[in-house]
Symmetry: D2
Subunit: 345 residues, 4 copies
């Protein structure tokens, strides 16, 4: 059941008590779902920046969707678009044959699935398909799956890439870990309503494993690109010339080609927008934390992934947490007389 | 309940099922404890390399000791010296007013204290004093303590330094985290029978925090000393001359003065004994894992502690796991033509 | 005049004395060049693995080439193909209006250009074009250029990428640092006979700067790819599935796509050939040394480039020096019972 | 002759041209030395923060001292105390049988000893004793020594520890590299006038080697101490309690005991004085640069020394360069709302 660091866990539990408190706080004007169950209903739990777009896309594609979030206002918006608000996780478990979760962290998932009042403590129907799109520890996915199997349900992990834009435009990529090909077909059909690519990465947990591996490599690539361009520029190179050389040679990577951290190299990147938008350093540090945990659990040496994690924690300590992760370039090159990054207006 | 990495946890749970299986395996010839409770009895759980010496010292100092370990043979030896073997954790909870645990990892502690059949699931007496001498995650200590408080018991963490020698010679140092001065007096009295120093480090969890901080700094100091001596020797310095300069100057640390990793510098060290004995790299990697987890949970940048962890994981991958942690020196200086470290005979 | 580390320098000077000793050792059967100068002759100095192919391509394209190397046998082969062997650097300086050098390190270049008996201590003709294709410190390039300017000659740095295959097939990429566009046209014309791309990177030194930046990023990308795949595989992922995910996502880089370090992922890579062939770790460590030196000289923080350097030095210490730099994967994943990499037959 | 990075070198050469320009700039009121040579005279070159105190101590102990510095005002102060100002390095070479140098970097030493107009290009007397107290690359020391031997002079390296206070109070420690015991006796006699300890570390270069090794270990110890205390405090430990545990245990090092980077732990440290005074980060980064160069030259892996170098370069980039090197603690723990360190008043 456990995951991540215990200190974090307790903070999260506190948070969960607030966000997912099993007594739904009263919210006038929100229509409650009737308790009748509907086997075609899709349950959707977790209506944050990503989840609200994803649920909306299900509604647009004609799905009957029952939603749940501890923040009533998060539900209110989607109700106006046809979603039915549940009063509790139990109601979702009662009413839906397919349930999607999109939650912030491993402890949240543990709580929502196997905690007191959680989905797998409810009268979940045999054969229910549980799809978790959160980015969490692969070991937690495996533990939830084992609990689901005991209840006759099927669980898969299906973390996404593509960000808030991809969620909005139904253009996400899903990395799926599930244990049987039959399950995968049903999963693909449903997830395709919210994304463009659905990749079967292996058994349960392997979707998360693929995602944290990719993000770890992306993080290292970004720090390395920032370091390299900082060095090149201090040696006298024009940044665009350097990008030209690297991107047609063996140094190229996604961060040098597509998401270059030097302002002015690649239009439309956060680097050209004061490092706002994009993928926040706080979130990158969280994903690197998952990678480092997984590396520790398997005694895998990850000197670079770990150092990237440390650097991003340093950036958090010095106030860069909400900036895009390419702001490592700004951090490295900043000089005494330089202005710090301005706050987002 | 949670701690450490989930993957590890599951491995540990498996192990725990074996070592601490609640159905004590039959073992002819071992005298079972009568079920009568004795309020002066000290319970001792976990009779490994450290624990067996510690329990023996309690017996030597005249304590009435009830012991428990999943390996009957571990108990057999101590029974011959006057200890009473318990059939279960429940029996310990029933019979003892003070209980000491010395276990290999956080998941073991969670299982022994709050797992099914664990001490805090038993009819533990109000006012029981629970002292955990294991080296585990400070957050786990806090969680166990919270469970203990609900049952009217008192829990403190009291990890040790001094190694197997210190355990044997009743010369350990205990770093204690407990929430009240009154508790500390009783704790000190008991722990003094097994050690020389009992330091109050703060509230529950702070004993563990102090220990993992100390060990992280020790690990970095060792790697740094190994690196520095390797460099000095390659530059042409005599290792003893270099030790003389460093140990009277600002570079000195415990690893350069007391536990020098270069063979021949300091008599009696593992470095002078083919890196056998001492503190195994596997254990050091485990302690660094605790430090890194705690750093992640608090978003603390620990670039050096983390890099030390990575290096020790590399050493484990290349077969050095059971050697003393000073073998990092051998690892760094080894050359193609060199023989690898021989196995312990 | 200076460059690199002094210790290295002295080793190199020794080597230089052997390879470029100004008294050409007698070698029966080698036809010596007549002392008549020919303004269209191209001088080529340094006939190692790369240089011999490059000079041969000049001959094939109809150039008149005068060659020099301290090893007579290196010259003998090319003489059979029409090259004229020089007796000394001075003879090259006397006879050629364009001179190309392809040498192993900064100190060699310093010696060949500005050392006793070097090109710029000879009666070099005004207007001579000096093109150095070695991979050296950008600051050394600038120093040689300054000396060349004093003698009325033009110097440019033009390090290559493409390896021995690229040299053989006249498919190299040249990264050129030169101070004027007119010079660049002449340079491009000549270099095009030996390669496919000739990129003007900026003023003198910027060719070297671009190359060491690219190689630093490539090295980090390789270590990061090795680490990531090692982690993914230990977590249970199939390596090909992981490559599929990463190479269509934000983790992709040259090392994951083109030069994957995991055996069996990408045909034709050194990873599929026992890590033989390719770019040797010794050479990668040398290039990273240049990058780290340049970073130190400009006070640029390069935590990742520097850590990559350290790791490759560790690999050298443990006997991997002549293996391809992707062997970092093998190093990270190797386990006690595993066989070390076999020597190249 | 070479040293350090070429880029740095050129900057230094520029500086040297200014500071040690061979045409002494006119400075009215300064009494010039008569050209008569005096075999008992001690020459002292380089009158910066350290050198001026050292020369003054020689004068106080009754030595006849001839001084040289490119800044006339540096000489003026000492002339008032009995020193004789030289017009050039040549005059020092002519007039003194023992010459001490205290210069900022390897290129300065190279210039002063073997550059145009340098001591070893002058009519230096056979048997002259040359003592270099600068902290420079050990390879440079060896090169200068080789040049000195050719001229019949004796050279030793004798870098110091003890800082400006130690220089003022004649309490320095000298780490001496010299090739013969006879030389060492004469050296010790002279250096004892300026310090308390004179340690013979081995042959020429070994004084420098010992110093850079010590300082590398000190730097790592400092970063590690800062990291560890930052972690402990975030985990809830009282910093003084943690210091108590560590300093009586295996984590202790000079930085935790004597020079603790946490304000309030140890009176009189820079940490208690807004990180002013002490050993500036700029200088620490310079010394780490020497260590890293020496490691590169000998292919020695120094992952921690190198990472310490990178961190201190990051601190320089973010404006901490003139603060004491213990300010790494402030850097790691600083939080968004925190005030940056104030400038020294």
């Amino acid at each position: 059941m456990p995951t991540g660091s215990p200190l974090l866990l307790r903070k999260m539990q506190l948070l969960t008590t607030i966000r997912y408190g099993w007594t739904r706080r009263c919210c006038p004007g929100i229509r409650m779902a009737s308790s009748q169950s509907s086997s075609n209903r899709v349950g959707f739990i977790g209506l944050g920046n990503m989840g609200s777009h994803m649920a909306r896309n299900l509604l647009k594609k004609g799905q009957s969707v029952m939603i749940y979030d501890v923040y009533p206002e998060a539900m209110a918006a989607l109700e106006g678009q046809g979603a039915v608000a549940a009063r509790s996780l139990t109601e979702i478990a009662d009413s839906c044959s397919k349930i999607i979760t999109m939650l912030p962290s491993s402890p949240h998932c543990t709580q929502v699935y196997t905690g007191d009042g959680g989905l797998l403590k409810s009268d979940i129907k045999e054969g229910t398909l549980l799809i978790d799109c959160s980015t969490i520890d692969p070991a937690t996915s495996k533990e939830i799956s084992a609990s689901a199997v005991k209840r006759g349900a099927t669980f898969c992990d299906a973390p996404v890439s593509g960000g808030v834009m991809g969620a909005r435009d139904a253009a996400l990529t899903f990395m799926v870990g599930c244990d049987s090909p039959e399950d995968f077909d049903a999963i693909r059909t449903l997830l395709s309503l919210m994304g463009k690519n659905v990749v079967h990465c292996g058994s349960v947990g392997m979707g998360e494993a693929a995602k944290i591996c990719n993000n770890m490599l992306m993080a290292i690539g970004m720090v390395a690109t920032a370091e390299t361009f900082n060095l090149g520029i201090r040696l006298g190179l024009d940044a665009k010339v350097l990008a030209g050389v690297i991107n047609t040679s063996s140094g190229r990577c996604w961060s040098s080609e597509v998401y270059n951290p030097v302002p002015g190299i690649k239009e439309g990147t956060p680097a050209c927008n004061n490092y706002d938008g994009g993928f926040a350093i706080n979130l990158m540090a969280k994903d690197l934390g998952l990678a480092v945990n997984a590396a520790n659990a398997t005694s895998t040496p990850t000197a670079f992934g770990s150092l990237a994690h440390q650097l991003y924690k340093m950036l958090m300590s010095t106030g860069y947490g909400s900036k895009d992760f390419s702001a490592i370039y700004h951090y490295l090159q900043e000089r005494p007389q330089q202005q710090p990054l301005s706050k987002k207006a």
